[in-house]
Symmetry: C2
Subunit: 145 residues, 2 copies
C-alpha cells in the first residue's frame, strides 16, 4: 500500500506532533516510533528537505514540526518520501488513444486517486484528536488507569 519508508515518516511526524513543546532528538523519536535509529535519521533528513520538519544541531537540538499539525496532511508526508504515482499515460508505451487511458489503467489510476484523496483529507491534527480511539502510535501511556 505505502512503502515502509512512508510508514516510518508518518510515525515520526505523529511523534513530533505529540511533543510540540521542545525539539525531539532522533533516538527518542526512534524509541517512540520503533523505527530503526540509523534509518530514521535518513527519513528525517528527507522530511527536512521537504519542509515538513525543522532540524537543529547541537546541544538542546533535535527535530520539530515545521508547520502546525492541522496544516500537514498525510498526503504531504507520503509524497515527501515516496510519491504516489498516478498513471498519466499508457504504460505500454502505445499512444493509440490520444492521451486517454485504456479501461484497465483508467481503473487502476482511479484507485490511486481514491488513495490520494483519502490521504489529502486527513491532517496530522486529525490523528491526534480522533475521538473514540487510543492515542496515535499506540503508545503505552494510553492504557494506564
Amino acid at each position: 500500500m505505502i512503502s515502509q519508508t512512508a510508514e516510518y515518516a508518518l510515525r515520526a511526524i505523529v511523534a513530533l506532533a505529540q511533543n510540540p513543546d521542545a525539539p525531539m532528538v532522533t533516538p527518542d523519536i526512534a524509541e517512540t516510533t520503533k523505527v530503526p535509529l540509523g534509518y530514521l535519521a535518513k527519513v528525517l533528513q528527507v522530511l527536512g528537505r521537504n519542509g515538513l520538519v525543522r532540524s537543529q544541531r547541537g546541544l538542546g537540538g533535535g527535530f520539530t514540526l515545521a508547520r502546525e499539525p492541522g496544516d500537514i496532511t498525510i498526503l504531504e508526508v507520503v509524497q515527501a518520501v515516496d510519491p504516489v504515482k498516478r498513471i498519466e499515460k499508457c504504460p505500454l508505451g502505445l499512444s493509440s488513444h490520444g492521451g486517454r487511458l485504456c479501461p484497465l489503467h483508467a481503473r487502476l489510476d482511479h484507485a490511486a486517486g481514491l488513495v490520494e484523496q483519502s490521504f489529502a483529507e486527513t491532517t496530522v491534527a486529525d490523528l491526534l484528536h480522533e475521538p473514540g480511539r487510543s492515542a496515535p502510535l499506540c503508545n503505552a501511556e494510553a492504557n494506564s488507569t
Copy 2:
C-alpha cells in the same frame, strides 16, 4: 500502488480475455502486453496455480482464461500475485488498545480498504466493454480506419 508483477498479471488476463476462442501462447501474450517474455512465464504459472488461467502444453497449446471474464475481478488477479495487505494489528507491536488500530493506522487501512473495494467492483468483462474508451491494452487495432 500495485506491484509491477500485478500490472503484468492484469495485462495478461486482459489479453487472454480479448482472445477467447483459442489458447494463446506465451510469446504472443508477451507481445500484446509488452511484458518481458521470461518473466511473464512465471506470472502465468502463478495465475495458473491460483485457478485464474488454464494451461495446455504442446502443439496448439497455450493459456486460456479458466473462468468467464465477467466472473473474474481485478481484485482476484491482484491478490493472486501480490496480495493487498490490510493492516490488522498495530505495526508497532504494542497492544495497548485491545485490537483497535490507532488513528494513523486506521486511516491507512481505510485507504487500503478503498482500493480493495474498488478492485472488487470491477470484473475483467467490465474492462472489455467499457464505453467511450479505446480497447484495453491500448492495442494498435483500435485506431485504424
